[in-house]
Amino acid sequence: MSERDEIRRKELDEVIEHYRGQEGGLIPVLQKAQEIYGYLPEVVQERIARGLNVPLSDVYGVATFYSLFSLKPVGDYKIGICMGTACYVKGAADIVDRVGSELGIKVNETTADGRFTLEVTRCIGACGLAPVLTVNKDVYGRLIPDEIPGILSKYKDM
C-alpha cells in the first residue's frame, strides 16, 4: 500500500469508528469516504460494510440511490449541469452538448487527464439563474453555450 493509500485508509477508519453503532451512520460515512477518495470504490464500500456491520447490499443500495455518490473515479472538477424544469426550458441541453464537445466526453464520463467529470443534476434550486452550471462549488448562471470555453479555461490551468 502506498503512503497516500495508508493515510486515506486511516482517515476512513477514523470516520467509521466515529459513526459505528449510530443509527443513520451509513450516509455520513459514505459522504466522508467520497470526500477522502473522490468516489466510492468497491473496497471502500466493503470496508464500510464490515466496519459499520451493515450488509454490503445495503451499502451498495444507498451508494447507488443518491446521485451525490459516485462509484466511478471523478475528475478534480465536477461539472454539474442542472436539468430541472426551468434550466431545461432555458436550454440546458445545449449547455450539456457544448461542455461535452469542448471536453470530448459524454455525460457521466471523466476526461482522460482526470481533470473534469460531466454530470447532469436534478433541480439545484437556482431557477432564477437558469440555465445553471456548477463546477465543484462555483456556480455559473444565465449561461449561453459560447460562454462555456471561457469558464472551462479557468480550471484547465489550475
Binding site: P55, L56, S57, D58, Y60, G61, T64
Partner: protein, 577 residues
C-alpha cells in the same frame, strides 16, 4: 397497546370486528373478503410498495394500501368499487409493461402471481411502451438462477433474505426506473455470501428466481442404457409432492411417489431416510465422543447445506463445532458408489446417483469439490420437489391415481427417526432416541421429545443422558441461528448439542418445495412426517436392520476409518460479504 381492544368497522357494508392493530387486508380476510396482493407476504415484514391491494376508505383523499393500513373505529372500507378496480388494473398493466412477458416459456407459467392478477383483472392490452430490461440472467450459482428482466421489484426476496435468513445477499440498488434487485455490484449469487437456501425462490411471485434445473441431466441418464440410475428421496418431499397434483396439503404420498419414480425409469428407488439413520449413528457417536473427550461443544448438526454455507461465511470461528458428518444426501451418495456398487458388482462410474430434495442448497452441496472420490461424485444430479413434479407430469403420470409401492432394499429401509429429519427438531429428536439408549443401554419408554417439536424459532431442552444432563437447542431460520450463535459467542448461553436448519420450519419449508406461504400448510406437512414416524415398525435409527448390516458388512463401526473417509467432510472459511 392493549391486544384485547376490539375495533368495529364496515367493509363492503358488512360490519366487522377485529383486534386493534389489524390491517384492513387482514380484517377483510377475516370477513371472507379477498383483496389481491403482490408485494405482501404473510410471513414477511409489511412493505406496501406494489399498491395492488388498494381500497377505498371513506373520508380518505386517496386510495390506501390495505396491507399496511391499520383499521380504525368506525372506518368504512370498500374493496370493490369502480375506482378501486380501475386503479388496480392500471397498476397491474404498468407492472406487465415492465415485465419480460415470455410467459409460455417461463418457469412460472400457470403458477405466477402476476399472470393470475392480469387474468383476474382482465388486462387484455398494454397501452404503455414496454420498459423491459434486457439484462443477462445470473447463472453463476449452482442452486439459483436470477432473471432481473422478470423482476417486479416487490422486494419479497430481499425481505426474506435479510429479515428471516439474516443473510442480505440481495438488496435494492439504483433508483426510479433504474431500480434493480440484486447482490452488491451486480456480483453473481455465487460470488457473494449467499447460502443457496432458496427462500427467495420460494417467495418470488414471478419467474425472476428459480432453481437451476437438473431435469435434462436426469432424463439423459434415464435414457442411457449404460447407466444404472439410482434415486434417493428426502423425507420432506413425500409430505409436499401431492400439493403439486392438487392433493390436500399434508397428504403423505410416499408409496405413490415411489411408484412414480419407478415409472420414470429409475433402476432403484431408495430413501434418503436410510442415510438419515446412518447420519444419526455417526453424529450420535460424534456427540458421545466429544462429551467424553472434552469437546469442542456444542456439537452443531450438519444436515442443512444452507446452514453450513451460512456458518462458513458468517461464523467460521464455529466450524470446529459443526459435526464433520456429511449430510444424509451425501452419505447416501457415498454409500451408493461404494457399498451398493460392491454389493451389486457395479462399476461406480456406471452409476448415476440422483437425489430428490426439498432444497436448492443441496445442488451446491452435491457440487462441492470435496464430495467426490477419484472423480466419482457422491451425487450426480439433484432435483427439487418441484422438478420431480414436473418430470412426473411430463411423463404423463397422474400421481394421485398411482398405486402405493415400497422402496427398494436395502437402502430404502428406514426408521421413523429418519422420517422426522424433514421437520425442525427432527434431527435432534432422532439423535436423542439413539444417544440416550446407547448410553444407558436401556429402552426408552417415551421416544417423543415434544420440547424440540413445533415452530418456535428457538427451542431448548435438557435431557438426561445416563447420569449427565444434555443441554440441547433447536433453531430454524438463519436469522434465528445467527442470533443464537451470537449469544453463544458472547458467552451468554451454553449448550452441548444444537440442531440448526436453514429454512424456517425445517426442510418441509425448503426452497425447493411447492410454493406455499401459510403456516397451516407447514403444520400439515410436519404432521405428515410425524405420521410417517408413527407408522414405522422401527422408530430408532440404531435399530434399522439395513443400517446394522451396512456397519457389519462394510463400515465396521461408527466413526471407523472407513466412515471417516466416506461419510465425513470438512469445511472452509468463506468471505462474509
Amino acid at each position: 397497546m392493549n391486544p384485547l381492544k376490539m375495533i368495529k368497522l364496515t367493509i363492503n357494508d358488512r360490519s366487522v370486528e377485529v383486534a386493534e392493530g389489524t390491517t384492513i387486508l387482514e380484517a377483510a380476510a377475516q370477513a371472507g373478503i379477498n383483496i389481491p396482493t403482490l408485494c405482501h407476504h404473510p410471513e414477511l415484514r409489511k412493505e406496501g410498495s406494489c399498491r395492488v391491494c388498494v381500497v377505498e376508505v371513506e373520508g380518505a383523499r386517496s386510495l390506501v394500501a390495505s396491507c399496511v393500513h391499520p383499521v380504525m373505529e368506525g372506518m368504512v372500507v370498500r374493496t370493490n368499487t369502480d375506482r378501486v378496480r380501475w386503479t388496480r388494473k392500471n397498476i397491474i398493466e404498468l407492472l406487465v409493461a415492465a415485465h419480460d412477458r415470455d410467459c409460455l416459456t417461463c418457469d412460472r407459467n400457470n403458477n405466477c402471481e402476476l399472470q393470475r392478477l392480469a387474468q383476474d383483472y382482465g388486462v387484455r392490452e398494454v397501452r404503455f411502451p414496454a420498459a423491459v430490461r434486457h439484462d443477462p440472467p445470473d447463472c453463476s450459482s449452482e442452486s439459483i438462477i436470477r432473471d432481473t428482466n422478470k423482476c417486479i421489484l416487490c422486494g419479497r426476496c430481499i425481505r426474506v433474505c435479510k429479515d428471516i435468513q439474516g443473510v442480505s445477499a440481495l438488496g435494492l440498488a439504483f433508483r426510479g426506473s433504474r431500480t434493480k434487485v440484486g447482490p452488491a455490484f451486480n456480483r453473481g449469487l455465487a460470488n457473494v455470501a449467499c447460502t443457496n437456501c432458496g427462500q427467495c425462490v420460494a417467495v418470488c411471485p414471478v419467474g425472476a428466481l428459480k432453481e437451476r434445473s437438473a431435469i435434462d441431466d436426469v432424463w439423459k441418464a434415464l435414457n442411457d442404457k449404460a447407466k444404472h440410475v439410482v434415486v434417493q428421496v428426502a423425507p420432506a418431499v413425500r409430505a409436499a409432492l401431492g400439493e403439486e397434483f392438487g392433493m390436500r396439503e399434508g397428504s403423505l404420498v410416499t408409496g405413490k411417489m415411489v411408484a412414480a419414480l419407478r415409472r420414470l425409469g429409475f433402476d432403484r428407488v431408495f430413501d434418503t431416510q436410510f442415510a438419515a439413520d446412518v447420519t444419526i449413528m455417526e453424529e450420535g457417536h460424534e456427540l458421545l465422543h466429544r462429551l467424553e473427550n472434552g469437546g469442542p461443544l456444542p456439537l452443531i448438526t450438519s444436515c442443512s447445506p444452507g446452514w453450513i454455507k451460512y456458518c462458513e461465511h458468517f461464523y467460521p470461528q464455529l466450524l470446529a463445532n459443526v459435526s464433520s458428518c456429511k449430510s444424509p444426501q451425501q452419505i447416501f451418495g457415498a454409500l451408493v458408489k461404494t457399498y451398493y456398487a460392491e454389493n451389486q458388482g457395479l462399476d461406480p462410474k456406471s452409476i448415476f446417483s440422483v437425489s430428490v430434495m426439498p432444497c436448492t442448497a443441496k445442488k451446491f452441496e452435491a457440487a462441492r469439490p470435496e464430495m467426490a472420490r477419484d472423480g466419482v461424485r457422491d451425487v450426480d444430479a439433484v432435483l427439487t420437489t418441484r422438478e420431480l413434479a414436473r418430470m412426473i407430469r411430463e411423463a404423463g403420470l397422474d400421481l394421485p391415481s398411482l398405486p402405493e409401492e415400497e422402496f427398494d432394499l436395502p437402502m430404502g429401509m428406514s426408521t421413523g427417526a429418519g422420517a422426522i429429519f424433514g421437520v425442525t427438531g427432527g434431527v435432534m429428536e432422532a439423535a436423542l432416541r439413539t444417544v440416550v439408549e446407547t448410553v444407558t443401554g436401556k429402552e426408552l419408554r417415551h421416544i417423543e421429545f415434544e420440547a424440540v417439536r413445533g415452530f418456535n424459532g428457538v427451542k431448548e431442552a435438557t435431557v438426561a443422558v445416563g447420569d449427565r444432563i444434555l443441554r440441547a437447542a433447536v433453531v430454524h431460520g438463519l436469522a434465528n441461528a445467527g442470533e443464537l450463535l451470537g449469544r453463544f459467542c458472547r458467552g451468554e448461553v451454553s449448550y452441548d448439542f444444537i440442531e440448526i436448519m436453514a429454512c424456517p420450519g425445517g426442510c418441509i419449508a425448503g426452497g425447493g418445495q411447492p410454493r406455499s406461504c401459510s403456516k397451516e400448510t407447514l403444520q400439515m406437512r410436519a404432521n405428515a412426517l410425524y405420521r410417517e414416524d408413527l407408522g414405522k415398525k422401527v422408530r430408532k435409527s440404531h435399530e434399522n436392520p439395513a443400517v446394522q448390516e451396512v456397519y457389519q458388512k462394510f463400515l465396521g463401526k461408527p466413526l471407523s476409518e472407513k466412515s471417516h473417509h466416506l461419510l465425513h467432510t470438512s469445511y472452509e472459511k468463506r468471505s462474509d460479504l
